[in-house]
Symmetry: C2
Subunit: 186 residues, 2 copies
């Protein structure tokens, strides 16, 4: 199932680079981080960086995606049952991810982060929908995933903007019926 035959050198080097990037991100803003900084911190050659990543934005993408996936994977990806509880825990993971980002300095890259979150959500939702509604049209399921991911992300933005910090689970609870049953089911 897992198909893990990645060269150990690649796993090691990618981890070195990503760890170095996360470390540097806690020290200065993204715009002030150079590729040379990263390779120096990771103690690898600069050419090796470009062997793994297109550029520093590609690294930002993949780093954030990975951190986000770590937050999500364990509890949801394999359960493959898209019910209220799963949606709620996914929403919780997103808010936690957003909070963890706010301690680092990625100001000015909110749109990138937003896109990454939506992309990952869409993949997960589509995966689950295919499992439980395999007879539906593929295009329909895809578009449903898109709307769900935008919707959940939007809710997390709204949650972040709210003054009083309600627990994420409580915050999302009121719209769960809508998500599960649509307007008619409310």
């Amino acid at each position: 199932m897992k198909e893990v035959k990645v060269d150990p050198r690649i796993r090691r080097t990618r981890k070195l680079i990503m760890d170095a990037f996360i470390e540097l991100s806690s020290q200065k803003e993204f715009k002030d981080i150079t590729v040379k900084d990263i390779t120096a911190e990771a103690m690898i050659n600069r050419a090796t960086f470009y062997y793994h990543f297109e550029d520093i934005y590609d690294l930002l993408d993949k780093s954030l995606s990975e951190v986000l996936l770590v937050n999500l994977n364990c509890e949801t990806y394999k359960s493959s049952e898209l019910n209220e509880e799963v949606v709620s825990s996914i929403f919780k993971a997103i808010t936690e991810f957003q909070m963890s980002l706010s301690t680092r300095c990625h100001r000015g890259y909110e749109d990138t982060i937003a896109r990454i979150i939506r992309e990952q959500l869409e993949i997960i939702f589509y995966h689950m929908l295919v499992n439980q509604r395999s007879n539906d049209d593929v295009q329909t399921l895809k578009l449903t995933s898109v709307m769900l991911s935008w919707g959940i992300y939007g809710a997390s933005v709204e949650w972040k903007r709210s003054i009083e910090k309600v627990e994420p689970e409580a915050y999302i609870k009121s719209v769960l019926p809508f998500i599960m049953s649509g307007i008619g089911g409310m």
Copy 2:
């Protein structure tokens, strides 16, 4: 002076192996540690191990030598003035090294450890002697280094064996005049 142009990959891999070895040494005895254990812990290929070390005994040698050198180097190697203070601090470093070993499990390899300590001491002493008595015969300086290293090591064994734990500096103090001036100077 330093001539440091070691391939970063070599430095990285040697450190991985040595760290893995030290970690395993704290978990079980040397005789129960296999090469496979080490390479698994270090997350490197077994063939790579043999690229760097002849066998596991070679690793033991080099690991202990390095740990010992770390204890010694900073304060003595470059001062190159072999006086009472330096001898005292070297003795202190040796005793600390021996104590740090006693927490790990290298039972049955006391002779190997002893040889490593003596070898390193001999190198350091010879280095210092050449600096401050360059007109003396080379063979004389070499033999002096040998006797000094055996003597200091013997003293550290005696210190370890003693019941009441006197501070190393106090322990060695009484024989410093002998070391500096010989029997006639006591």
